[in-house]
Every structure is written in structure tokens, then in C-alpha cells.
């Protein structure tokens, strides 16, 4: 890997705790090993995009969120879920 775990975490703007450093390094090494199999492949001239099944022109008017509606939904349920990770 060209970059260290610390450098990559800066690049991705992610803080890593001391206790997870080793685990993340191991995961990155495993992923890098998979990526290295691509070394023997030639760089293509054009990118590939999985085309949608036919071209669909949008017929509707994009739906706008109504902020009052959103707040009403949130306020009606917020107390059920903010008290911890488990509801059970």
C-alpha cells in the first residue's frame, strides 16, 4: 500500500481509535491483496457503465418534501427511539 493507515484515514477524513488500528490495517491489507490481482490487467480506453433497461424519460414532477410534514412525522415518533440503541 502506498499510504499508511494514518495517511488514508486523513485522506478519507475518518478518525480511527487506537484500539481499532490493528483491525483496520488487517482489513486494508486483505482488500489490497484482492486489488493487486488487477495489476496484470491493461488499462481500458473507455469506462463501462451498466446501462439501464431502456431509456426512461421522467414523466412526473419531482416530489418536494414538505418540511412541516417531515417535522410532524419526526416529532410524533422521536421519543420512541432516542433512548438508546435497543427498543426491545
Amino acid at each position: 500500500m502506498k499510504y499508511s493507515t494514518t495517511k488514508l484515514s486523513r485522506l478519507a477524513a475518518i478518525r480511527i481509535r487506537k484500539d481499532e488500528e490493528d483491525l483496520i490495517r488487517k482489513k486494508l491489507e486483505a482488500l489490497e491483496e484482492l486489488l493487486s490481482r488487477l495489476d496484470s490487467v491493461e488499462v481500458p480506453k473507455e469506462a463501462f457503465v451498466l446501462a439501464p433497461e431502456g431509456y426512461h424519460e421522467r414523466e412526473d414532477v419531482p416530489v418536494q418534501f414538505e418540511s412541516d410534514e417531515v417535522l410532524k412525522t419526526f416529532n410524533s415518533v422521536k421519543d420512541r427511539y432516542v433512548k438508546g440503541p435497543r427498543t426491545l
Partner: protein, 462 residues
């Protein structure tokens, strides 16, 4: 009332006849879920059933929904501390369509955080456990959905499949897992991990159950431009012509191979016609291509979790960078590693080295798959190369965990439909086999899997 072993379809028939009420059904699964969840940890959020009053075909019966599918007014966490208290203001199209058919939501199921993982071990709310033996993983990332169906905590469930996330847990828990063609089901409301690979699908006890729910959620949606109207007419393929990819089968361990080849003998006796292909040209690159694309898309999709747009609001001294870094520290280690790798892959100088090459290989894999499928109805390979491992082993050995995806990522790269059914047992665990078809041939694959299920009779459901 005991509904143990009953398929969703037979339950619906009994409700239709009036011999059981939808409220009894909901109460049965809710009580089971309450009793077993401390052990299995299949649900992150369980909803107390309300009095059912629906006239739709689903009659108000509760369905388990993976926790990365948006549900209006119900917490949707993606099994992450990042979205611990996130309550979506809208329903995903798949959920909306279930509700329009009279369905309700039984609860939100546990999963690998942001659907990254194939074991169910990477959840901020603790690992899901395999109902067959709770020391072992149930497979992932739709771990809770599969465990809930297998443990009678739900009659049927929705999951999502990015690289095998529906089929892997189906294989490990002895359930049926159907991954539709890419675009056959709208992704609107599915919290994005890798957009070009993922799709919403079904985990159920039988193939017919999966077909029923799939038909309800499938179809074009104006809010997802990649969605299309897949052909939903039932297909009778007569004696199906099946191609076995030996190079994939060889990657499975001996126990899995034995059960798999035994299933072929039984299916041949039932009229299936098998041919064998020894080499698949791109096999060495399938996993590399998948992980390159998935990590790159993940790093882009998950950039919205910065503590401003989504994620926890923090009180952090310093500048914006330290604020965002602290907020993104709420991800688990698997998610962090994949975002970091994705950022690296997309950085200047490495985009061509990895990302463009992976896209090129994906194109070749798709062309190769279409070429070998000529004259055949489906490809048949094992779903997982190994049997379930003990909880914790996947975390300690990430190479093993990533390699376990080798047989499931092919349909995600090609956009094909694939369905995993139990095809035999090895010791106490089930072995899954998957049928894969051409994109759009969803009903053909379902029909073949249904015939295979009847011929093999690995799990008997009423």
C-alpha cells in the same frame, strides 16, 4: 396457535378462508420475536402489532424489513451508530408497495453495518446469531432477515443484495433468498452502499413465498431511473437446461462440493439436464472487480455522513475538519476500512490503476456470462464456498471473510437474477445452491428453483 413450519402462502390462504385471523398471525410472530431476540438478535427495532384492518392481499400481516430500507416513522439505523436515531420521513418504494398490498411492518432487522459484510458480525448492535447453532454466524449482510425467517420470528422478510447479502444468509440458515435482476425492484429508499450492484429482494421459507412478495414489490418506479418493468408472467421451462460452472464449484470446500454434486444427481432424476463448463475466463478477477467497485461507490455514497447532513451532532473544539473526522469516527471498523480503500482507489493516479480496470473487467464478465448462457436456462453453483463459521472468526480473519463472497458476486456484477435454495445438509448446517439467469429472466429462475425445491425436498414446509 402454532404456525411453525408454515409457509407464508399457506398462512395467507388460511387467513383468506377465515380459519385464522391476521391478528393471531401477527401476535404469533411478535411473541416469538420477543422471546428469541435476546438470543438471536435478529431485530434492531420490533414493532408491537396493531389491530389489523387491511383488505389488501397481505391482510395486514407483518413483514420483517432489513434496517437499511427506509420506513416512514420507524427508526432505520443501517446497524450503525451513525444512524442510531434516524427516523426516515418517507417509505422506500418496496415498503410503500407492500403497504399498498395490505402489508404491515413487523420490525427492522439486524444486518452488517451499511450492508458491508457476509456474516452478520459487523453490526453496531451486536452480531446476529444463527438459529441452527447460536455459536455460529447466520451469514450476511441481511443476517437478521434470514435469522428471523428461519427462527419463526417473521413469516417472510425483505433484504438487500449487493454481493450476496440475501443469498449468503439464506444459505447459512436453510431459507430461500431471491436477488432480483438489477433494476427489477426500485432502489428508492434503500440507503445506498454501492448503487450499481445492489437490489432489494426477499428471504422466505419457500420459493413460492418469495415469488409472491417479489411480484408485489417489482416494477418501474419514476423515482429510480434504473428501474424497469420486469416480465412477471409465470414461465414453465419444461426440462430445464442447466450449466454448472466447475471452476466456481472447485472453490468450495469438499463438504459443500459433495452436497452440491449429490443435489445434481437428484435433480437429474427429476428431469433437469446438466452440462458442465470447466473454465470461466474472468474467474480470477471476479472478487477483485467487485471489491474495487463496491469500495469506490461506498466512499462516495457514505460521504454524506459527516455530522452535518447525516450523523450525530457533536460538540467538538477545532475546525470543520476535526468536526467531520470526529463524526465519521462513529462508523464501525469494516465501514471505515472500505471507505478508506475506496477513497484510495478513486484518488488521482489510482483511478486508472484500479477503478477503470475493474469496470473493464465487469464489462468482460457480463459479455462472457451472456456468451456461456446461450442455449441454457440457468447457471447452477453453490451459494457459499464454506459452511457457517464461529462468531468472531470473520472479524479475526478478514481475508477469509472477503473470500467467502467469491460465489455470490457474479450476479451482482452482471445484474442477473439469482436465487439460493437449500440443496442438502452437511452436519447440522444447510448447504445452499443458487440458480443464476440472464437479466430480466427473474420468473424463469423462480420457476426452475421451485421445481428444484420440490425435487430435493430438503426442508419440508406445509
Amino acid at each position: 396457535m402454532n404456525l411453525k413450519g408454515r409457509s407464508f402462502l399457506t398462512i395467507l390462504r388460511d387467513v383468506e378462508r377465515g380459519s385464522i385471523s391476521p391478528d393471531d398471525v401477527n401476535e404469533y410472530y411478535y411473541r416469538n420475536a420477543l422471546a428469541l431476540n435476546n438470543t438471536i438478535n435478529a431485530y434492531i427495532t420490533l414493532i408491537k402489532p396493531q389491530q389489523s384492518s387491511s383488505d389488501g392481499p397481505l391482510r395486514g400481516i407483518g413483514i420483517a424489513v432489513k434496517d437499511n430500507i427506509s420506513t416512514r416513522g420507524i427508526r432505520t439505523t443501517c446497524a450503525s451508530r451513525m444512524l442510531e436515531n434516524y427516523v426516515p420521513p418517507y417509505d422506500a418504494t418496496a415498503v410503500e408497495r407492500l403497504k399498498n398490498n395490505g402489508g404491515s411492518i413487523l420490525g427492522k432487522t439486524n444486518m452488517d453495518e451499511f450492508a458491508m459484510g457476509s456474516s452478520g458480525e459487523n453490526s453496531a448492535f451486536g452480531p446476529t446469531r444463527n438459529p441452527i447453532n447460536t455459536d455460529y454466524v447466520p451469514g450476511g449482510s441481511s443476517s437478521g432477515s434470514a435469522a428471523a425467517v428461519a427462527a419463526e420470528m417473521a413469516p417472510i422478510a425483505l433484504g438487500s443484495d449487493t454481493g450476496g447479502s440475501i443469498r449468503a444468509p439464506a444459505s447459512f440458515t436453510g431459507t430461500v433468498g431471491f436477488k432480483p435482476s438489477y433494476g427489477a425492484v426500485s432502489r428508492y429508499g434503500l440507503i445506498a452502499y454501492a448503487n450499481s450492484l445492489e437490489v432489494i429482494g426477499v428471504i422466505s421459507k419457500t420459493v413460492k413465498d418469495a415469488e409472491l412478495l417479489f411480484k408485489m414489490i417489482a416494477g418501474r418506479d419514476l423515482r429510480d431511473s434504473t428501474s424497469f418493468n420486469v416480465d412477471l408472467t409465470s414461465r414453465d421451462v419444461g426440462r430445464p437446461r442447466i450449466l454448472v460452472l466447475r471452476s466456481f464449484v472447485r472453490m468450495a470446500d469438499e463438504r459443500v462440493q459433495k452436497v452440491f454434486y449429490d443435489s445434481i444427481s437428484k435433480l437429474e432424476r427429476a428431469g433437469f439436464i446438466f452440462d458442465y463448463l470447466d473454465e470461466f475466463r474472468e474467474i480470477d478477477y471476479v472478487l477483485s472487480s467487485y471489491y474495487t467497485i463496491a469500495c469506490a461507490e461506498a466512499s462516495t455514497n457514505l460521504s454524506r455522513y459527516d455530522g452535518i447532513r447525516y450523523g450525530p451532532r457533536l460538540d467538538v473544539a477545532g475546525n470543520w475538519r476535526s468536526y467531520i473526522e470526529a463524526a465519521r469516527g462513529f462508523f464501525g471498523s469494516e465501514v471505515k476500512a472500505r471507505i478508506m480503500m475506496g477513497t484510495f482507489i478513486l484518488s488521482a493516479g489510482y483511478y486508472e490503476t484500479y477503478y477503470l480496470k475493474a469496470l473493464q473487467i465487469r464489462k468482460e464478465i457480463r459479455a462472457e456470462f451472456e456468451r456461456i448462457m446461450k442455449g441454457y436456462d440457468a447457471v447452477y453453483i453453490p451459494t457459499m464456498p464454506v459452511l457457517p463459521w464461529k462468531i468472531g472468526e470473520g472479524i479475526r480473519d478478514p481475508k477469509m471473510a472477503y473470500a467467502a463472497d467469491v460465489l455470490t458476486v457474479l450476479p451482482n456484477l452482471t445484474g442477473s437474477p439469482a436465487i439460493s435454495i437449500p440443496v442438502g445438509k452437511s452436519g447440522e448446517f444447510f448447504v445452499g445452491g443458487q440458480f443464476i439467469g440472464l437479466r430480466g429472466d427473474d420468473m424463469k429462475i423462480i420457476s426452475i428453483a421451485s421445481e428444484a425445491e420440490n425435487a430435493l425436498e430438503v426442508v419440508r414446509h406445509e
